[in-house]
């Protein structure tokens, strides 16, 4: 592997949280130029299951995105110059496979027609896997769609939260979907939501993914967001730390071939200098959740937002439910001229400055997640959250300590040979 740089990160001087609240947004202030990396399209808000930790308020709605709306979302990206050489489109924020298969045939063709000459578009679907069948597998293969499965591990963990509307567990159906993907030779990763119940079963949790062919695993937790007001992790952070340590131990000693996203990202942040942006000649962290329009989320009806995708549509009189505009009437950058965006941009920016001032991990994270700041601290301009401790700090601490121990052990092992 490459260790790219020894250049030190010198945190710039502490800045007042409120000193630049009136600064107006100008895309020309960013270097390199702002580009959208991830376009999240909500084909439908509907989900065929009803997980108890879900943040989506409208998951009973069977509304659907039209091809015309989807095309307009892509045209706005093209016309605003936000489409770079690569773009990942994620179909999410509802169950994507609740849509007719033909929708994606049309949608992917239309996106290619609008953006194909300008950027390489890859499509991802994050699905609960319960609706996967042979026909979906054929469609997924035909379009080269990357698949992520939402599954929480063994049935006892999964079925405690991921249930149908009439209260039945979905684990067996998810396993069938995963088996079909394997039969069709379709690779997939998994995202699991971990709770305190998971912490006591770290080995069984990891072995489940090993057994079912998952090699890339993201460990989310049940975040306090939107209608899900309280995380079960509150009061269980010590157990979470032990869980992270155990996952790392298994990953490092080779007793599993599952790679855990949070640990890998922590290791990467330690191994190499992270990329940075400049904003108005100052360093600005390369954190897609705090860079305007790096992530754009478009709802089924064309409403769009930026920053944390979970924000769009959440009730907020202050920020107009985080809807910055609608692609049928307004471009993304046009929306940045509005007072609503100005308030949002100011608050997110002050939140980054708070992190820079207050958090030792700022150089490796870049300002946290605005949605978690809002829902945990009640303020987008605030700093540390449970999300920070769970997703960034503990994996970072565990990986750093392990590397230090392994380095010391390697040095001790070499010392006899180094003796004169």
């Amino acid at each position: 592997m490459a260790v790219a740089s020894r250049v030190r990160w010198f945190p710039r001087r502490s800045s007042s949280v409120a000193d630049d609240a009136g600064v107006r947004f100008d895309p020309a202030d960013f270097d390199p130029a702002l580009r959208t990396r991830l376009l999240i399209l909500q084909a439908t808000p509907f989900c065929n299951i009803d997980c108890d930790y879900c943040y989506l308020p409208d998951r009973d709605s069977t509304a659907r995105m039209s091809i015309a709306t989807m095309r307009r979302a892509a045209e706005r990206l093209r016309d605003d110059g936000l489409a770079g050489p690569e773009l990942t489109v994620v179909w999410h924020a509802g169950e994507p496979l609740a849509m007719p298969r033909g929708f994606y045939d049309e949608a992917i063709a239309a996106l290619h027609e609008v953006l194909g000459a300008r950027c390489e578009v890859t499509h991802s679907i994050q699905t609960n896997a319960t609706l996967i069948d042979d026909a979906w597998c054929a469609s997924i293969k035909r379009h080269g769609i990357r698949i992520g499965i939402s599954v929480d591990g063994p049935a006892s963990l999964h079925d405690a939260h991921r249930r149908t509307r009439d209260g039945r567990g979905t684990h067996a159906r998810v396993l069938r979907g995963m088996a079909l993907l394997r039969e069709h030779g379709i690779p997939f990763h998994a995202i699991a939501v971990v709770t305190p119940a998971t912490f006591a079963q770290a080995d069984a949790f990891l072995d489940f993914f090993e057994l079912h062919g998952v090699r890339e695993l993201g460990c989310n937790y049940d975040e306090a967001e939107g209608p899900h007001e309280r995380s079960s992790l509150a009061g269980h952070e010590a157990e979470h730390a032990a869980f992270v340590e155990r996952l790392l131990e298994r990953c490092a000693d080779g007793s599993t071939s599952v790679r855990v996203r949070e640990l890998a990202f922590a290791r990467d942040a330690i191994a190499r200098q992270q990329p940075r942006q400049r904003w108005r000649e100052e360093h600005w962290p390369d954190n897609a959740q705090t860079l305007p329009f790096a992530l754009i989320t478009v709802a089924h009806n064309g409403d769009f937002g930026t920053y944390s995708p979970e924000l769009l549509g959440q009730p907020s009189p202050e920020y107009g439910n985080f809807v910055l505009g609608n692609v049928t009437t307004q471009g993304y950058l046009d929306s940045a001229r509005t007072e609503r965006f100005g308030r949002l941009w100011s608050a997110v920016r002050r939140g980054v400055q708070t992190c820079e001032r207050d958090c030792a991990y700022f150089g490796y994270c870049g300002g946290g997640a605005p949605a978690n700041k809002l829902y945990e601290n009640g303020d987008l301009a605030s700093g540390e959250t449970l999300y920070c401790r769970t997703m960034i700090q503990r994996p970072f601490d565990a990986v750093l300590a392990r590397l230090e121990r392994d380095q010391a052990a390697a040095r001790r092992a070499r010392e006899p040979e180094l003796q004169p």
Partner: protein, 86 residues
């Protein structure tokens, strides 16, 4: 309503900072963490260089854990991982 007004005129940041003031990190903590990272990063760099120069890849085994041959290669994710801060 008052909160919205305060936010608009930029005062809410000052108020909001009150609930994070207790979490303020002393410069020493930041410097200490940075020193640990730089020490490990430097050692990784040196081991990688030594392994390349000598052809003895075991010199870099201490940080090339197990069978994670390429920790930074996540072909199935693309920019999806960006949702998690990267």
């Amino acid at each position: 309503m008052l909160r919205a007004l305060l936010t608009w005129i930029g005062v809410a940041g000052v108020l909001g900072s009150a609930n994070v003031a207790e979490a303020r990190v002393e410069p020493a903590a930041r410097v200490a963490l940075e020193a640990r990272v730089q020490a490990v990063r430097g050692a990784m760099h040196e081991s990688a260089d030594a392994a390349a120069a000598s052809g003895d890849k075991t010199l870099a085994h201490w940080f090339n854990w197990s069978n994670w041959n390429n920790w930074n290669n996540w072909p199935n994710w693309g920019n999806w991982g960006n949702w998690l801060n990267r």
